[in-house]
């Protein structure tokens, strides 16, 4: 097992982090193309909106998994975390953009009342707003200016954001669907690995 992990870590060391920005951007134009040409069925707007939101949430989950993967499997994906986080923001922003422009047809009055009156939209919007400071500070300059401790503290904001995103996904459904609940369960499990149990001796400096 550890040999496999070592090989994997060695291979990943050669992959530049910037390649992830390209790789993770490619699905966006592909999905728009697919939606526009009938690949997403007869109601492409809703399908596209959901797909973007789901991918955004999946990237948030992937970002949350990096620390436990390092802690428990010694798999080191740390250098990819920023790209994953920034791309999660991009997908969530596209998800929101599709809602505003394509789904709601820029009916701002209706959207405004929806944001205030519909808890699942309120929750989604709060989660998006929470992602903005994280996306804005995801660069070396901000890290230097803020100082590592303050920066790390700010970026723990992703924990409540992930939970809000998972709850938002469950609430969009008309009935209790399995998949969104699996998403939230995974999010909660990943957050649980970060709890510093008082009785447990700390061995690795997990973040």
């Amino acid at each position: 097992m550890s040999a496999v992990i070592d090989t994997l870590n060695a291979a990943l060391r050669k992959v530049p982090a910037w390649s992830l920005y390209i790789l993770l951007t490619l699905p966006i134009p592909y999905l728009f193309y697919s939606a526009a040409t009938g690949g997403m069925g007869v109601e492409p707007i809703n399908a596209l909106e959901r797909e973007m939101g789901e991918l955004g949430l999946k990237l948030i989950i992937l970002g949350l998994a990096i620390t436990p993967l390092r802690k428990y499997l010694k798999l080191n994906l740390l250098k990819f975390r920023r790209a994953i986080g920034v791309m999660a923001f991009v997908y969530v922003a596209v998800h929101l953009g599709i809602w505003v422009v394509l789904d709601m047809s820029l009916r701002f009055e209706q959207m405004w009342s929806d944001i205030w009156k519909r808890p699942y939209i309120t929750i989604g919007m709060v989660a998006f707003l929470g992602m903005i400071p994280l996306a804005v500070t995801s660069n070396n300059l901000s890290l230097r200016k803020m100082g590592a401790a303050a920066w790390r503290k700010l970026h723990k904001l992703v924990y409540p954001i992930a939970v809000l995103g998972g709850v938002h996904y469950i609430m969009v459904q008309k009935v209790w669907e399995v998949e969104p609940m699996v998403f939230l369960a995974v999010i909660l499990a990943l957050l649980a690995t970060r709890i510093k149990w008082a009785t447990k001796a700390r061995t690795a400096p997990g973040v």
Binding site: A35, A36, G41, V42, E43, M104, D114, K117, Y120, E177
Partner: protein, 297 residues
């Protein structure tokens, strides 16, 4: 009703024209109706959705909760030899073959708007007959106030039933006057073709001024009763889905506005359109005189 009496006179011959126009408006769902009155003109401008759109974007939870699940999964449902039980407060109860039941009904094409509670809509050219004709044939007993409907439960071919995503059988109901309204039809086809399984083959209800879930699919039982029947979505979440569930742009679903809707088939860049009161069938308004539709929604 062994046969339908026909004459050469029309409503125009006996009825003052404004009332006749109003009557035509009631029947305005019929495709190809003449250009008579605003409501009819509005109907004529309706552009029906394609067969593909109508049969690939469906809610039919017996076959799954995804929009394409019914089209993917409903193919194994066998509708040959379908039987419907009519019981409760009727003079002629019994279990009838679909063929016997529809044999002496007057088939019509009705081009209706179809508005889902999820704020999307289609325009569908149904083939069917008025439910009132069927109820009259069954002989509704005095004292009956409501009609209850039940969908088939076929776990062998219905993955949603096996997963028990909601409680089955799916049940729906109407008040008797709603059921007897000329706009309320039992549909057996679309575009002169038999209903696709995912559309509710072989026979379904269509109540065009209510949210789509009221138009129960693949019916196996129709029961006349003297009390308001249990209805599936109302049972699942009464706060979100009322018994009446009339299309009403002023009464929001708790989780989304009903003021506007997305028309299926418009592609990626089609704008939302305003939702019409009673889905554009104002002739049913009198059914609800004296009711507060924000309370009895």
């Amino acid at each position: 009703m062994a046969f339908r009496w026909k004459n050469n006179l029309t409503h125009a011959d006996v009825t003052p024209e404004p009332i006749w126009l109003n009557r035509r408006a009631v029947l305005a769902g019929m495709a190809g109706a003449g250009a008579l009155g605003g409501s009819v003109a509005a109907q004529e401008s309706l552009e029906p959705n394609t067969w593909e759109e109508i049969t690939t974007y469906n809610n039919f939870y017996e076959f799954g909760t995804g929009k394409s699940d019914p089209a993917d999964n409903a193919g194994d449902m066998v509708t040959d030899g379908w039987e419907i039980t009519i019981d409760g407060m009727v003079d002629n109860p019994g279990t009838f073959s679909l063929a016997d039941l529809t044999a002496d009904m007057t088939m019509e094409e009705r081009l209706y708007r179809f508005r889902c509670v999820e704020a999307w809509s289609m325009v569908i050219p149904w083939n069917g007959f008025e439910l009132a004709d069927l109820l009259n044939k069954a002989g509704v007993q005095s004292g009956a106030t409501h009609v209850a409907f039940e969908t088939a439960v076929l776990p062998d071919v219905m993955p949603g039933v096996r997963r028990r995503v909601i409680e089955f059988p799916y049940v729906e109901g109407l008040r008797l006057d709603e059921a007897m309204h000329p706009l309320t039809i039992m549909a057996t086809g679309v575009y002169d073709r038999p209903l696709a399984n995912q559309s509710g083959a072989p026979i379904r209800l269509v109540v065009p001024w209510k949210y789509g879930f009221k138009s129960i699919k693949s019916i196996v039982r129709i029961t006349l009763t003297d009390e308001q029947p249990k209805t599936s979505w109302n049972d699942i979440n009464a706060r979100e889905y009322g018994f009446y569930s009339n299309v009403n742009p002023e009464v929001d679903h708790p989780r989304w506005s009903q003021a506007s809707e997305r028309v299926i088939g418009g592609g990626l860049f089609a704008a939302r359109q305003d939702t019409l009161m009673f889905n554009g069938y104002p002739e049913v308004a009198s059914l609800y005189d004296g009711m507060d539709l924000s309370v009895e929604f």
